[in-house]
Symmetry: C2
Subunit: 340 residues, 2 copies
């Protein structure tokens, strides 16, 4: 399987490391040989139809900040140049999330699908803004569009939902989908003020330097769009959601919830009657009442009740394993059967 | 798909109800028409190669305590008689759990495999006592042996593990696998004594009248055997496990754990170095620290960290949905591809 990686930050580099370390395992367990024929970063590209030396690519990125400086294979080619000139089965899109217009991920994904490549993306931007259109485009061309890593990092939320739904019907999806805000709310329960809790989250590396996307509920909303489309078959994008963040939460609100055995969590909810993000009081014993940087997604099924999946929803290596899962499922699709 | 149901208690009857209510859905979504050609209970059987009237079977069971009284199709045939005389693709084994010798489930499963039937079982007894042998038998005959409902009721624990493991390696499985003991421990945290908490669990219908299997850790151990075999590929049975229950847990132990931010949970652990059941102190914020009658299973993966699945792990209807999932996957196996 030939892949090209566009975006070579934490996740892209973690993927390269995993592919190096797990080469034998993937071949033995899944008959899968992954050849990285191109890597594109913001300053250029490295291309080799015979497969790049990933060790060297990682070193070059570390030392020079770009793979464009790799001897003999590096150049200033753009993602589109590369898409047109290499033969690849899959584009792995791992550029940064942009909620204004989804770029550069949006163009990368559209170009790849138009040129006949399957797509694995961990970039929430294009999905949050245009998931129904992108899915249609892929279906029309009979190509795979996979995005396991876009919700919950390494946590297989989407696959879990698909499995749960077999022979039953999912009627509601609720999720604590953002580790930063959950960390802040948990620390506020423990007595900190909002600003203190935020500062601590930043110190621990959970929050970005500009935590607006987290606090405002936008990051949660992006993931909720993906869940609503994929799990409930809703055709929604970011603009269809009512979004409320945690900026207005006061220590008093948290105390009041506590006095009735509840905690406040920023929850994304998708059900028949609507899709929204809102801080909600949930029972302390509810599986959604996860603490600190944990994520949780609860599915309510018609017959089998409420099922929750919980884990740390972030991290480069974790998200890279989700990409590997997607690559395996594309391989299964290419060969026409399920590897078990 | 022709199935025979052996054991027509809560789970068997729930399955019949689901098959009635979901007939159109299963046909439309999975192209699956399930014909129940025989039902066997402890007093006899009802058999019809053209498919039994499930409404009538449920009514007859309710009114007479057995399907053997069904007009024209009822008789005193045994499970083995029926296995030999009907044409079925799948045996659904739903008799009661027996940890002495696994009967009557053990004989039912072995006979079915020998006669060329695929098997779906929700009965933990035969699996806890002889899972490696039963799996080998099924593999040797190229038949499916499915048991989703045996761990976690409707919670798709085994499928979740399989999905998580794709492209990664599961190194440890930990589980809160028994709702009764977890209910007792949670209530003890809230100030009740052991006996009070147990009485309450019985009142609420969580604990059996004889709760020995729960309290002693045996029920947890049975489920752990299944997880260890299926998820970690270990060849173990009940006799290979060290099992410690919660009978010795004192209110003081729980208080002491609490003072250091921990709670005591009865946990089944399977890892490279061993498989055991034991009350352990876990951090209050740990996803395994679920409350009341919840179950939780945590998988530790080499690259993608700790993933937990949580839900109420019991109930007739919930467990019956797990049987439906298994039937769908057997259908996929019969037709040779994955229905998506």
């Amino acid at each position: 399987m030939n892949i090209m990686i566009v975006g070579f930050g934490t996740v892209g580099q973690s993927l390269a490391q995993l592919l190096l370390g797990y080469r034998d395992f993937l071949k033995k367990a899944y008959g899968m040989v992954v050849r990285v024929v191109a890597i594109v970063d913001s300053k250029g590209a490295a291309v080799s139809q015979r497969g790049l030396d990933l060790d060297m690519a990682l070193r070059c990125k570390r030392e020079h900040g770009t793979v464009a400086k790799m001897p003999s294979v590096g150049s200033e080619m753009s993602a589109l140049d590369v898409l047109r000139s290499v033969e690849a089965d899959v584009l792995v899109e791992a550029t940064h999330t942009n909620l204004m217009n989804g770029e550069p991920g949006m163009t990368n994904i559209v170009n790849a699908l138009q040129l006949g490549l399957n797509v694995v993306t961990v970039n929430k931007g294009p999905l949050a803004l245009a998931m129904p259109m992108l899915k249609e485009m892929a279906e029309h061309r009979k190509l795979a569009l996979k995005f396991s890593g876009s919700v919950g990092g390494g946590l297989p939320v989407l696959a879990f939902a698909k499995e749960c739904a077999m022979g039953d019907r999912i009627v509601k999806v609720e999720g604590v989908l953002n580790g930063t805000t959950n960390y802040i709310l948990t620390r506020m329960e423990e007595g900190l003020g909002f600003d203190e809790a935020l500062a601590e989250a930043q110190e621990k590396g959970y929050a970005e330097r500009d935590p607006t996307l987290d606090i405002s509920g936008m990051d949660t909303a992006c993931k909720l769009v993906i869940l609503a489309n994929e799990v409930l078959g809703k055709r929604v994008t970011l603009k269809d959601l009512k979004i409320e963040g945690i900026a207005e939460i006061k220590p008093e609100d948290i105390k009041m919830a506590k006095s009735s055995g509840k905690v406040i969590r920023l929850i994304g909810v998708a059900e028949e009657s609507g899709v929204f993000v809102k801080p909600l009081a949930v029972d302390r014993s509810d599986p959604l009442a996860v603490k600190y940087a944990y994520n949780a997604v609860t599915l309510t099924l018609e017959n089998s009740g409420r099922h929750t999946i919980t884990g740390k929803g972030a991290g480069g290596r974790e998200t890279a394993t989700a990409i590997i899962r997607d690559l395996i499922s594309i391989k299964e699709r290419l060969i026409g059967y399920k590897i078990v």
